[in-house]
């Protein structure tokens, strides 16, 4: 099988007529972990939501493909079946649907009858992944994200990531609101997936997650596009010096979207 590939070119995205992304481009391949960093309000979460197909975001220009297939020609579920996964910053709560029923339905989505994951195999897998993520047994039987704490929701996103084994994952601020122990657990989960068959884009404010999941590339977003790229050392420098030096270097006064 060929290596996974996500290519985004000159992406422009608006929400309620306001343009947030202004010419974003990236290429993520199997075996690579990209960190997208940047201060608040620079369009990072918009990028994640737009690529997955969130109904509120409108793509006005540009292209994106997964393994050469046009992402914007696909419905949300088709994008998922093509191998794209988004770990959301604010996952929805769905009452009355248990976590395990949901995850099992998701694993069987798009599968022909007879190809579905057997119940025994499912239980074995979910037990193993919950163990990795140090998630309590009761998690399975609780309703999907209902009444979950912020940290529990993040772990649940990673549990789904591990169960669904996508080709390309986007992790949207998966580290926010996690204490250091939870952060390590989440990092362990992500590292478990590292392989040539898996490409990942980690969106984060902070460098701390990157201490545990070492990125191959680091990109800084300002004003709705990437303004600087580098290796892991860039994240380190940002941690130590903040973002001001980049703004100075590039002559940017206000890094948030909507300012020129």
């Amino acid at each position: 099988m060929t290596k996974p590939n996500l290519t985004v070119k000159d992406l422009h995205v608006s929400i309620e007529e306001k343009e947030i992304l202004k010419g974003f481009g990236i290429e993520v391949n199997g075996g690579e972990i990209h960190a997208i960093m940047g201060p608040n309000g620079t369009g990072k979460s918009t990028l994640a939501s737009a690529l997955m197909g969130h109904p509120k975001y409108e793509v006005t220009k540009g292209a994106a493909s997964i393994d050469g297939e046009d992402l914007f020609e696909m419905e949300v579920d088709e994008r998922a079946l093509a191998g794209l996964f988004l770990a959301m910053q604010y996952p929805s709560e769905v009452s009355g649907v248990t976590n395990s029923d949901f995850i099992r339905s998701a694993m069987n989505a798009g599968k022909e009858e007879g190809e579905e994951v057997s119940l025994m195999k499912f239980i074995r897998q979910i037990d193993e992944k919950m163990n990795t993520l140090e998630i309590d047994e009761s998690f399975q039987h609780r309703y999907l994200n209902e009444g979950f704490s912020g940290g529990e929701k993040k772990r649940n996103e990673i549990l789904q990531l591990l169960m669904l084994k996508p080709r390309i994952a986007i992790l949207d601020e998966i580290d926010s609101g996690l204490d250091i122990d939870a952060l390590k657990v989440v990092a362990k989960g992500i590292n478990e997936l590292r392989s040539e068959e898996f490409g990942c884009m980690i969106i984060t404010h902070y460098q701390r997650l990157l201490n545990y999941v070492k990125p191959d590339f680091v990109h800084v977003m300002m004003q709705g596009r990437i303004v600087k790229s580098g290796g892991p050392e860039l994240a380190q420098k940002l941690e130590e010096q903040g973002y001001d030096w980049i703004k100075e270097e590039l002559g940017i006064e206000d890094e948030t979207v909507g300012q020129e």
């Binding site: 997955m52 197909g53 969130h54 109904p55 509120k56 419905e75 949300v76 579920d77 994008r79 998922a80 079946l81 996964f85 988004l86 959301m88 996952p91 929805s92 769905v94 009452s95 009355g96 649907v97 029923d101 949901f102 995850i103 339905s105 998701a106 989505a109 798009g110 309703y143 999907l144 789904q160 669904l164």
Partner: protein, 435 residues
């Protein structure tokens, strides 16, 4: 101006019917006086639904069914609701009010539990029937339909649980309706002090669809420290007009009643579910889910009335609306003066799947006491697109995502039904009605 009303059954026929059933004279008299009242009383007036043109009076009174008694003769649709023959323990099956199968565990009989059809109960447990039947809970004086019910009762079940007896298995009744028969089904549950019982009933239609009437009353009495769990799945066909009145008198101190009602009729339905929390420290949990489809009109009113101190209660009503159906969801939490330290909560949620459907949620808190807590939440809306996005982002198709959300939305009642086959049946009914 009063309009002339006629019923397909007259005094003489009621007398003959009562004689045929070998009922005691007082019961015959109750029927006759109720028939008289029915002529003079008005129809009930459910808030925001006009039912004056509904058919409540045109029906056939001949059951056209024989008492049977053998399991193998039960219809396939009844069999899907119950266990396999070898596992059937406590069950009453009736077709058009006539008992066609009955079974009960010997140890429950030994403990003094009574679980029998209403016809037998009127004869064999006359004192208990006299004490409870349409006295303190639902009265024949309330409206034309309760009066007609008392006059024409022709089916149903009596369940009596003596003091300190805990029945740890659910008792089940299946009422099937056929043809143009007018079913007047009466369920009477009496749970004495510190007893515990779970009762689940199914209403279903069989055979061809003809215009008919179902007039269903359930009265539940809960004594000191007793608990009654009452589950129901109503699944009558499009051509059956239904009046259903289920009421609990929670008279005992620290008594509990739990309702789990799956109201899935396809015809016009007016439903009232009332819980009177009379005993201090008593508790009432009332859950109702429903689906409206086609052109049907339905009205679901839940009353939760606090009389005793430290009473606690909750109303949950979830409805899914599709096609051109109309449903009104009235929730009334009432705290009477003197019911100090009581707490009343209610939630009504209506999920609209069609532009042409109508769904109204009307929560009301009527509070006549200062030292209480109460709350309500109500919403009418479409499926949340962000929820859909989340589910679809994991690969679920639009249809599958919608299915999960709807089943989840109706799960509070499905999950509360204690009999696996009934739970599955309600799940299947939901599946069939929504897709």
């Amino acid at each position: 101006m009063t309009t002339e009303i006629t019923f397909p059954v007259n005094q003489q026929q009621v007398t003959d019917f009562s004689k045929d059933r070998q009922e005691p004279q007082w019961f015959t008299d109750l029927r006759l006086s109720s028939l008289e009242k029915a002529l003079n009383l008005e129809l009930p007036k459910p808030d925001k639904t006009k039912i004056t043109k509904w058919n409540f009076t045109s029906f056939d009174f001949d059951a056209k069914t024989d008492e049977k008694g053998s399991f193998s003769e039960l219809s396939e649709s009844v069999k899907t609701l119950i266990s396999k023959e070898e596992d059937v323990k406590n069950l009453i099956v009736q077709n058009n009010g006539v008992t066609t199968f009955q079974s009960m565990q010997a140890d429950l009989i030994d403990k003094g539990v009574i679980f029998t059809d209403i016809k037998t109960a009127v004869n064999e447990h006359e004192d208990l029937i006299k004490k409870y039947f349409m006295q303190d809970a639902v009265s024949s004086d309330e409206n034309r339909l309760t009066a007609l019910h008392a006059a024409l009762v022709n089916g149903g079940t009596f369940l009596y649980v003596p003091k300190n007896v805990e029945v740890d298995v659910p008792l089940q009744a299946v009422y099937s309706h056929e043809g143009s028969f007018g079913l007047f089904n009466h369920v009477l549950v009496v749970a004495e002090e510190n007893s515990y019982v779970t009762y689940v009933e199914n209403h279903l239609s069989e055979g061809s669809n003809e215009e008919a009437v179902a007039n269903i009353v359930a009265e539940v009495f809960v004594g000191n420290g007793a608990t009654v769990r009452f589950g129901a799945v109503d699944n009558l066909s499009e051509t059956v007009t239904t009046y259903v009145n289920r009421r609990a008198q929670v008279t005992g101190r620290d008594a509990n009643v739990y309702w789990a009602l799956g109201q899935m009729n396809d015809g016009n339905t007016v439903s009232e579910n009332t819980t009177n929390l009379i005993g201090d420290g008593s508790y009432g949990d009332t859950k109702t889910v429903s689906i409206g489809r086609g052109n049907q009109t339905q009205n679901f009113t839940t009353n939760l009335i606090h009389f005793g101190k430290h009473t606690d209660g909750e109303i949950l009503k979830h409805g899914v609306m599709k096609d051109s159906a109309t449903s009104i969801f009235n929730g009334i939490s009432k705290i009477e003066h003197g019911a100090t330290k009581s707490n009343s909560e209610q939630t009504e949620r209506v999920l609209m799947l069609s532009e042409k459907a109508r769904g109204d949620a009307n929560p009301a808190l009527l509070i006549d006491e200062d030292d209480v807590t109460a709350g309500h939440a109500a919403s009418v809306g479409k499926i949340d697109p962000v929820q859909m996005f989340y589910l679809m982002s994991r690969g679920l198709s639009e249809k599958e995502a919608q299915r999960l959300i709807i089943h989840g939305f109706l799960a509070p009642v499905v999950n509360a039904l204690p009999i696996e086959s009934v739970k599955e049946q309600l799940y299947d009914v939901i599946e069939r009605k929504v897709y």
